[in-house]
C-alpha cells in the first residue's frame, strides 16, 4: 500500500506544513520519536532549499507499506535554477562552511538513501527514503 500526499512550498510557513505532513506519516508508519524528528528535519531542510533557491516547489511524502518493507519516501521537486555540480553539493563542508551541519549530505545521513536529479535551468528532483526496521 502506498499513500501519497504533497505540500506546495511557496512561503516560509509552507515549510511548517510539509514538516507536519512528514511527521504525521512517519508516526502513522510506526517510526519512534527520534526518527520522526530526523525525518521531519530532513523535510525541513529540503523545503527550505526550495523556499530559498527555487521559490516554488513541492514536497511529496509517500508512505510505503508492503509485506517486504515499510518505508517513508520524500520527494522534493522544483523548477528552480538547478544544481550545476551535484557531486560538489554532496561534499561535506561545501554548503555549510562554518559547520552548521545542514546541507544535502546532512539530509542524506538523517535518511537512508538519496538520489538527486538536476538540470541547470530546469529544476531539481531529490528523492530520499528511510526504512523502518
Amino acid at each position: 500500500m502506498t499513500v501519497k500526499s504533497s505540500v506546495e512550498i511557496i512561503t516560509e510557513w509552507d515549510i511548517v506544513a510539509a514538516r507536519q505532513l512528514g511527521r504525521n506519516e512517519a508516526k502513522a508508519l510506526g517510526f519512534g520519536t527520534v526518527d520522526q524528528a530526523r525525518i521531519t528535519t530532513a523535510i525541513s531542510e529540503l523545503a527550505r532549499n526550495i523556499y530559498l533557491y527555487a521559490n516554488i516547489g513541492f514536497i511529496e511524502v509517500e508512505r510505503v507499506e508492503t509485506e517486504a518493507e515499510k518505508k517513508i519516501v520524500i520527494i522534493a521537486s522544483d523548477k528552480g535554477p538547478g544544481i550545476k555540480d551535484v557531486r560538489k553539493v554532496m561534499e561535506d563542508g561545501y554548503s555549510t562552511t562554518g559547520g552548521l551541519g545542514a546541507g544535502l549530505p546532512g539530509v542524506k545521513r538523517l535518511m537512508d538513501s538519496m538520489d538527486i536529479q538536476s538540470i541547470v535551468g530546469e529544476g531539481t528532483i531529490i528523492r530520499t527514503e528511510k526504512r523502518l526496521c
Partner: protein, 332 residues
C-alpha cells in the same frame, strides 16, 4: 541500543540515589562508550528520556514534551556533529596523501652533492612546511665543470613543489648547454612561462665553475645576490646580476658576469629564507652571515652550511618563516 539504555538507566538511577562524584565519573566513562559507538546526540536525549520514564513513571507525563522538544533540537546538533566527523575523516585521508606526496617529492627532488678533489661543496635545504619550495640542483662534468642552480618558488607547499619538479626536469634536459648561465635561465624561463599558471614565479641563481681555469660565471633571475669571499683580501663581495623572475614574460634575455675564484675563496648562494628575518627587522642578515663565515672560514663547506642554519634558526627563535637553503662552494 536496548543494552545501552539498560546500562544508562542503571547509572542514572544510582546517581539519583547516591549523588556522589563516583557516579558522575562512571557516567562519563559510559558517554565515552557512546561516542565510540557513534551514538548521536538526539539518541542520547532519547535514552535519557526513556530512563526517566522508567525511573519516574508517574512524573514523565509532565516533562515528556520537553524531552521531545530537546530531541528535535538535537537532531540538528547531531547533523553538525556527523558532518564534523566526516570532515575529520577526510582530513585524515588528506594527511595520508600528503605524506605520500612528500615522499615522492623527496625522491624526485633529491639533491646529490658532487664530490670533487679541488672544490669543497656544502648544501642544506630545510622546508618550513612538509613540502620544499626551494630546490638545489648540481651538474658536473668530471673535474672540469661544476654548475649549481639555487631556486625558490614564490609560494610554499604543494603548488611550489609541483612547479619545482618542472624546473628540475627543465634543468636536466639542458645537458651540455649548462655552461652558459644566460642560456640556462632563458630556457627555464620559457619552460615555466609556458607550463605554469600566471601566479607562479620562480627566482633562480645559476652559476657555473670552470674548475681548470678558476672562473665562476653566474646569472640571476630575481634571486637573492650570492656572496663571494676573497681570501687574499679577506673581504666579501656581493654577486649581483640583473634579471627578471622566471615565468613572468616569455622572451627575456639574461646577462651574466664572471669572477675568478682563487684558492680558499668561498661562494655562498642562498634563498631569501636565509636573509629575511621577518620578526627581526633590526638584524642586518648579510652582515651577520659574512661575519659568521669569516670567523669560521677554515671549516668545511658543509660545516659552514650547518653552522649558518643553526645560527639563523637561533636568532629567529627556532621559528624560521620561509624555506631555508644555502649552497657553499669553497676552492681548495
Amino acid at each position: 541500543m536496548k543494552e545501552l539504555e539498560k546500562q544508562y538507566k542503571k547509572i542514572l538511577s544510582d546517581y539519583m540515589i547516591d549523588k556522589t562524584e563516583k557516579n558522575l565519573y562512571i557516567g562519563q566513562n559510559f558517554i565515552r562508550q557512546l561516542i565510540q559507538k557513534n551514538v548521536s546526540p538526539e539518541d542520547v536525549v532519547s535514552i535519557h528520556k526513556n530512563a526517566i520514564a522508567q525511573i519516574f513513571p508517574d512524573r514523565i507525563k509532565e516533562v515528556q514534551s520537553a524531552y521531545d522538544f530537546l530531541i528535535e533540537v538535537m537532531v540538528h546538533y547531531g547533523m553538525a556533529h556527523r558532518e564534523h566527523q566526516s570532515l575529520l575523516q577526510k582530513q585524515a585521508e588528506f594527511e595520508i596523501e600528503m605524506n605520500i606526496a612528500t615522499n615522492i617529492q623527496k625522491t624526485l627532488l633529491k639533491t646529490v652533492i658532487p664530490q670533487l678533489s679541488s672544490v669543497d661543496i656544502g648544501m642544506i635545504s630545510i622546508p618550513i612546511r612538509k613540502m620544499n619550495g626551494d630546490y638545489v640542483h648540481f651538474l658536473q662534468d668530471q673535474e672540469d665543470y661544476l654548475s649549481v642552480a639555487v631556486t625558490d618558488v614564490v609560494g610554499k607547499g604543494v603548488p611550489a613543489a609541483l612547479c619545482m619538479s618542472m624546473v628540475k626536469f627543465g634543468l636536466e634536459t639542458l645537458e651540455y648547454a649548462y655552461k652558459d648561465p644566460s642560456y640556462v635561465l632563458e630556457v627555464i624561463n620559457r619552460v615555466i612561462e609556458k607550463g605554469v599558471d600566471d601566479s607562479m614565479f620562480v627566482s633562480m641563481f645559476y652559476g657555473c665553475l670552470d674548475i681548470q681555469n678558476n672562473i665562476f660565471s653566474y646569472a640571476s633571475a630575481g634571486h637573492e645576490p650570492a656572496l663571494h669571499y676573497r681570501a687574499n683580501e679577506n673581504t666579501f663581495y656581493s654577486l649581483e646580476a640583473k634579471g627578471l623572475l622566471l615565468g613572468v614574460l616569455p622572451e627575456i634575455k639574461y646577462s651574466y658576469n664572471k669572477i675568478s675564484l682563487k684558492e680558499q675563496d668561498i661562494v655562498i648562494i642562498m634563498t631569501d629564507g636565509v636573509t629575511e628575518f621577518r620578526a627581526h627587522d633590526d638584524v642586518n642578515s648579510r652582515e651577520m652571515i659574512t661575519s659568521l663565515i669569516a670567523e669560521h672560514k677554515h671549516q668545511s663547506a658543509q660545516q659552514l652550511c650547518n653552522l649558518l642554519h643553526k645560527e639563523i634558526e637561533r636568532i629567529q627563535d627556532f621559528k624560521l618563516s620561509d624555506d631555508f637553503s644555502v649552497v657553499i662552494i669553497k676552492k681548495k
